[in-house]
Assembly symmetry: C2
Homo-oligomer: 381 residues x 2
DNA sequence: CCACTTAAGCAACGCTGTTGCCAAAGTGCA
DNA sequence: TGCACTTTGGCAACAGCGTTGCTTAAGTGG
């Protein structure tokens, strides 16, 4: 790591604390305590962020016997990102600000089984519609360059020159890129889908590169469960470890360990549904026997939600013990159809084994998580 | 992160590459390529490391048309660490050099069920015997301070002053500390055992602090499986992800994800043996049903090794799919009694599910891994 | 009203990795 | 044997990072 990288690292640290503080804001001294930097260093860093339009002063705290602390806040409108959720039968596109708040959404029904070009066209059309409707500048502006610098120091290819000392208090906001979430398997490093269940024609399509070309934006691709887990991780008040279990068409999982999304080297982590919980159980499509997904969905199919919840809870318990995680978050259409029953059933299994992990149900939207694929690096995630 | 921390970080990066290169050594230019630093920066860093006695020049490579590259090597004898393996019926104490190579060992039979003081006394006696037998300086020397600086920048408490420009080419080697591995559960942050199966009197004993007092050395405590996994991780040619599965008195696991040991917030990660693989199976002592450990050990008890291997392989497959890890490493008394059968059985299960993870058996000693608890921070691990 | 406390900026500084230049130490062709 | 060329690695000057010492700003409380 060199000096520019150090600068980016610390800027990301500060930006992340500003983001987490949200509407409440945070003072320079508290930033200093939390980052371990000196107050003077924080002053310099926040001065840069303010000059770049990413942060601003917003009121003061009550005095504790001396000069009151000045509160700093993130400027959510300084930058935006697009989130795309490419589901089996539906396409959702959202625009999200720097704070992760959705500011616009479009939704179309779309068959993932349609031709690759049809889907790519649809994404292009929807994103363009979102852009023009919300008038977020397409061209790279001051804040974009600032955020990019904050995110990665090795970005040497950018020929962008940030203007000195923005005279206007608010530089034009800009679009940082588009994050795309879809059912796995896929490789997030190359941005290429693998053999998507039921849609083999997607295998090997250079989806990310193609979208970069069509949208003229940086694009990141990841599994729907990973995107959702990432979004949830950024909403946690403090970095922790949790698993997002998604029960929909299949049973998948996104893992966040110590605040960081764990993808594995081949984006293969999170194959939660095909763990064996019944040795020599019924044969599963994956080639295994007694897979959690098969047993759980079979219970759902025959209307036995308590049993489905118990099976899901058993899988969750395996995971909690193996990884020592703090909480389990449930989501997906099937869970959301009976959230109380699934939460209760899962909780009961964990409690019965003496495990302290919390259980919650979230209706968190995948598309917002997809946008976080773009925003997360800004905050060092 | 500040400048001293940056310096430590880069020094650790370079030291790790020197360590990995081993006897072959590595040139300055290759270090520059691998770290992303400029050659000049690497020259400065390695000059410091050489002055501190941690690295030295050792020959040159063949020329490729110009000045031949000078080879740099780690000086293994620059520092040492003690590794303590506190097992249920035996105490093993080793001395390990900076390269992780064992240079001395002592072994005594010792009942973990004996009084806490008896065990502490035994550790003290054995470590002292090891020290005097190998004449490794007890007092902190130049290299110690250097290694400590390389390891952690926040170490402000040290009142040690490193001498300027050591005139002698080889500063006195020093003992960095002692790593202790024992059966879990325990908390590695506080260095306190939890409710060790069969030995409840260890619960809450401030083991690490007590040993710091008795040995006069920094001490780290961790689970035996974690220590072993850490040791194996440091032997990998490239940082990767793997699980160390230990089948002995019980069935435990150490997880290394992207080259880093995953302990979980409460050192609870690795509860591999108590995952349910047989819904509504036989009751286990942990309160669950159909636990992997119970089923696997039952098969071992009735002499059915192939079945034990198949069950172990099933658990391994769950883990490989969940975490997308590269390889599975087997160890422990039971496995080592029939290494080929366990390896083959595990491999067959993985292959049958189309998983590419490699399977190997290791006789790697826990005590060496324990010593790595002390050495690892020097290399940024 | 004034002493005191707390927050935050200015200027000088030490130390980081970087850049530009040059010496060292080989190869290979004439 | 000599000389041009290639490659390595150190020296010196430098830009930029966070830190230190001090000053100014802006409150509280007797």
């Amino acid at each position: 790591m060199n000096l520019p990288a150090l600068r980016s690292h610390n800027a990301a640290l500060v930006l992340d604390l500003l983001r987490t503080a949200g509407e409440d804001g945070i003072s320079r001294l508290e930033l200093a305590e939390r980052t371990g930097l000196t107050p003077q260093a924080v002053s310099k860093i926040t001065a840069r962020l303010r000059a770049e339009g990413l942060a601003r002063e917003a009121g003061r705290r009550a005095s504790t016997g001396g000069k009151p602390r000045t509160v700093l806040r993130l400027v959510p409108s300084a930058a935006y990102a697009v989130g795309v959720h490419l589901d089996r039968d539906e396409l959702t596109v959202v625009l999200v600000d720097l704070a992760g708040v959705r500011v616009a959404r479009r939704r179309t029904s779309l068959d993932l089984g349609a031709g690759v070009d049809v889907v790519l066209d649809a994404i292009g059309t929807e994103v363009e519609a979102l852009r023009s409707a919300t008038a977020v500048a397409t061209e790279t502006a001051t804040a974009t360059a600032a955020v990019k610098r904050a995110a990665t120091a090795t970005e040497t290819e950018s020929g962008i020159e940030a203007g000195d000392e923005a005279p206007a208090p608010a530089p034009a906001p800009a679009l940082l890129g588009a994050g795309v979430a879809m059912p796995g398997p896929l490789d997030h490093l190359t941005g290429t889908p693998g053999r998507v269940t039921g849609h083999p024609h997607w295998e090997g399509v250079p989806l990310r590169d193609e979208l970069v070309r069509r949208l003229g934006l940086p694009v990141e691709l990841d599994k729907d469960t990973n995107a959702t887990a990432l979004g949830l991780a950024l909403h946690a008040p403090v970095p922790d470890s949790f698993a997002y279990l998604h029960l929909g068409t299949g049973l998948g999982c996104g893992l966040v360990l110590d605040g960081a999304l764990h993808r594995g080297a081949r984006t293969g982590a999170g194959e939660f549904g095909h763990q064996t919980v019944q040795l020599d159980g019924p044969l599963c499509g994956c080639g295994g026997r007694g897979c959690l997904e098969a047993l759980c969905l079979a219970a759902v199919a025959r209307g036995d939600i308590p049993e489905a919840a118990r099976i899901l809870g058993t899988g969750a318990a395996n995971l909690v013990r193996l990884l020592d995680i703090d909480r389990v978050v449930l989501g997906g259409r099937v869970v959301l159809a009976a959230p109380e029953e699934f939460a209760r059933g899962t909780r009961e299994v964990l409690a019965g084994l003496g495990l302290a992990a919390g259980v919650a149900v979230t209706p968190y939207a995948v598309a917002e998580g997809a946008a976080q694929l773009i925003l997360a690096p800004t905050f060092g995630k």
